[in-house]
Symmetry: C2
Subunit: 319 residues, 2 copies
Amino acid sequence: MVHVVTGGAGFIGSHLVNALIQRGQEVVVFDNLVRGRLSHLERAIESGYCVFVETDCSDFAAFRCAAQAALADRGGEAIWHLAANSDIPAGVADPNIDLRDTFMTTFNSLLIMRELDISQIHFASSSAVYGDFGELAITEQSAPYKPISNYGAMKLASEAQISAALEAYGKKASIFRFPNVVGAPATHGVIYDFVHKLKADPSRLDVLGNGLQQKAYLHVTELIDAMLFIAENGTEKVNIFNIGPKDAGISVRQIAEYVRDAVSPAAQITYGASDRGWVGDVPRFRYAIERLQQLGWQPSMDSEAAVRRAVHEISRDAA
Amino acid sequence: MVHVVTGGAGFIGSHLVNALIQRGQEVVVFDNLVRGRLSHLERAIESGYCVFVETDCSDFAAFRCAAQAALADRGGEAIWHLAANSDIPAGVADPNIDLRDTFMTTFNSLLIMRELDISQIHFASSSAVYGDFGELAITEQSAPYKPISNYGAMKLASEAQISAALEAYGKKASIFRFPNVVGAPATHGVIYDFVHKLKADPSRLDVLGNGLQQKAYLHVTELIDAMLFIAENGTEKVNIFNIGPKDAGISVRQIAEYVRDAVSPAAQITYGASDRGWVGDVPRFRYAIERLQQLGWQPSMDSEAAVRRAVHEISRDAA
């Protein structure tokens, strides 16, 4: 039985593929290589346990054809659906991007799941489904949801479609509400941006917004560990979990300083005036993970440790 | 300034159009006449305050062209977005139906809103966004949402997309989470089905499911009153409200008996074994409307009164 990973050539996807292989699973990756890179899967493909198929999961005919061929002589155990737009500002400028890359990929994954009789789907959702709860610590019971980006809206739409589908077919779904995730090989995100800005001009680092946005960060290795834990131990039909560190997060100013210290200690940091980096950005963000802790999983790093490790990894890769 | 009503030729839409005209507003209706009927708008069109345009709001190019033409020489005040699939079982059988008719019509309405600089959107959402909360009274804070039909999923997706859009443009949105709504001119629903079954065979009424499903019902005249009240009095950017009666509802058995008494008193009623009428049907359903009462609106009929009035209206129309 094979594990399907959509978006498996991406930052988080490639970590998941490696972790599944380490657990003795065979993996088929579907990725359109728009944001993902084949180089992320080098080790997995060399192992002989990973088949890579370039296909766009938002194109149902193409995705279906690729899935039928790849799973023809063996069944699918689960779909790990990670393919999505990851550029939130791009999706705010053009809502068609999140509709196509974030929602339609989910819609199509569910059709494939039914057609190929795959019993599980595990979905990379996001804290962005909640919207802005200010200083409140967000639990899975926090409501009503008012996402402020099309990215968050289409993640919530995907969750809803999964929930409805599981009523009609399939055995189990996991919905992982990701926090901000850091680590290498990064393709975007605040650390990646700061590192590359400083590599381009080592004398200065211009930060969008006032840098007081405070968010929680999880290292990608811990995220993968939590995903596998929930997929294995979730007892409901549709298992919804926040994943994050235990702390309330660190500020963008702290991140800017860690990056400066690692990349160009003499650089000057300047800040903007707004409390949001861009439309769709949540300025403050506190995440409660008691539900996940009750299931039996604990993070080992706090936001600061995760960010410091990621700064080290990303600045090393950019060298 | 004109009020746009999508799905305005439908059961609820035509009541809304009449109510807006009674308040002195001009209305433009967009409806594809698949479930709506032009006859529902006779009185509105005769008044001279309603323009009807046949167009499919899920087809962006057609909708945009129709909206540009209809609003060319006057601005739009608000979009009342009611166009949607209303056949829940059909949407469970084919998820493309709710994607197209329920979600894409919302997605396109938001693009039209931005393009034509319309500042408000008022959306017909549904209690189906919540899923099955069993005996618990559902408030706007009940979470997490686990819709069990594609209809509920695409209503939730629509809410999410509206919330994200309002972050970028527009001034105000209302999200009305409708209960079961009854009244004439009905095009579907439990009362309509029972009346037509009994008209076809006055000797018997076969009920899907065991008839013990208990739900709250609101009469359409009260629904419209609540919608107009929320649109006028909601103080947030995105105003989410449950709309319903105050009581815990009545059973399908009671409805079957009211219809039998009104249409064919000698008929025999038989019941199925399942506690759900169909996949996607929520067997029990209790709705809390304290938030709406706090805003200042009160229903005047309970579920029984609403159903009795609707049975009278629908059986009269079917005569």
